[in-house]
Symmetry: C2
Subunit: 206 residues, 2 copies
DNA sequence: GTTCAGTTTAAACGTGCGTTTAAAATAGCT
DNA sequence: AGCTATTTTAAACGCACGTTTAAACTGAAC
């Protein structure tokens, strides 16, 4: 495996667990068993490394997500839950792309939103605008009474739910397992969250 | 104003905007116009300062919150929305306690959850267990069909929504204001979020 | 006026960070 | 084999951080 890939793999894992700010290049290169300077040689800077880690996933995920969301949009009648369910398969298929792919990616997403003040928001909206556009389209068609302003807020609330849940998903799953004494996986978490956010977005207008 | 209070005020403001990790003691003491060493003299360490900032709010908030939640619990019939609405007055009254109190506190809450890996969760559950207990009690009475496991997940999702929304509330309100061309306040955000989380927690069981 | 606990101050300490440097090692090509 | 471009390496750089030190200052008590 190339030095570049070794760095990407180690960085992905550590970033997911400890956040971007909380992970040093020394930890990454130590876990990857490469020289410290290799990060700056291959990626230029820590910030570029973060982008590279995210891009590896987004380039895999975005086409699948766009396809799934468009498919939902084409339907005559859309249930809001279908819109959110459209995310499930593309996300779960990340497990075939990389080991622990789904969980790692979602955690990275969470880290990116809460760590480096808005950088990831910029990255996603500028680099992958179609995903967001198709998603909004589908929600609008499923729930046309929703005003743009209500939509704005509810989608941000939804983003918050996802992002927070996923960035602390390891801890949550641990607590839940010890509390309820059964083994839980990320799929279980996804199953739980979809009805919640679908109901939230579909809440009656005041 | 005492040095201690000057430090607490400056720290609160900076922590809310830039997070705990993102704020250095030098920034705090510079804004407070006190000597750098004063933090360690008066508080012992940065971690203790963080606790002190949070405690100042929680000691004010916790009694009001407990009272409001107990009042809801005493009712014969509880609508879930009432449980969440019980938070509103105690939270808004923080604005009389300190300028920008509501917004600062909610942002701090968000920072605390996503910054320092679980420290705030420990702090809240051990130092203010009644708030959480009364809240769970009320939800349970409002929606008795909810199993403990479903309750567990939905309350964490709710926490995520609140915490994420509030930790980025300044940015969100800015975007919303420029998009919809009207002036928005934190109260507006609270109005929006309550139907969302109430519907989420009340979602039908699958 | 002296004493003394409490407070403030400037300076320094040690540590860990991201990044840079320049030499050494490696791999590809003729 | 010899040259060249790429990659790896050890070491150091400069900086910012939280914390500690010890001296200077303050204000009330006697």
């Amino acid at each position: 495996m190339s030095t570049k890939d070794k760095i990407l793999d180690a960085a992905e894992e550590l970033f997911a667990v400890k956040g971007f700010n909380g992970t040093s290049l020394r930890e990454i290169t130590s876990q990857a068993e490469v020289n410290l300077a290799a990060v700056n040689y291959h990626f230029g800077s820590k910030k570029e490394l973060i982008k590279a880690v995210m891009s590896r996933y987004m380039n895999e995920l975005a086409p699948n997500l766009e396809k799934a969301l468009l498919a939902v949009y084409e339907k005559e009648q859309i249930d809001l839950k279908e819109v959110f369910t459209a995310f499930v398969q593309p996300l779960l298929s990340l497990n075939q792309f990389r080991e622990n792919g789904t969980s790692n990616f979602l955690q990275l997403l969470g880290r990116g939103y809460t760590d480096s003040q808005g950088f990831l928001r910029w990255f996603l909206t500028t680099q992958y605008p179609n995903v967001i556009a198709y998603f909004v389209q589908a929600v609008q068609k499923a729930y046309p009474e929703l005003t743009p302003e209500d939509m704005f807020w509810r989608l941000h609330f939804t983003m918050g739910t996802i992002v927070f849940t996923m960035s602390s998903s390891d801890a949550l799953l641990d607590i839940a397992e010890s509390d309820f004494e059964k083994q839980l996986e990320i799929e279980h978490l996804i199953e739980q969250v979809i009805p919640y956010i679908a109901a939230g977005v579909a809440a009656p207008l005041s």
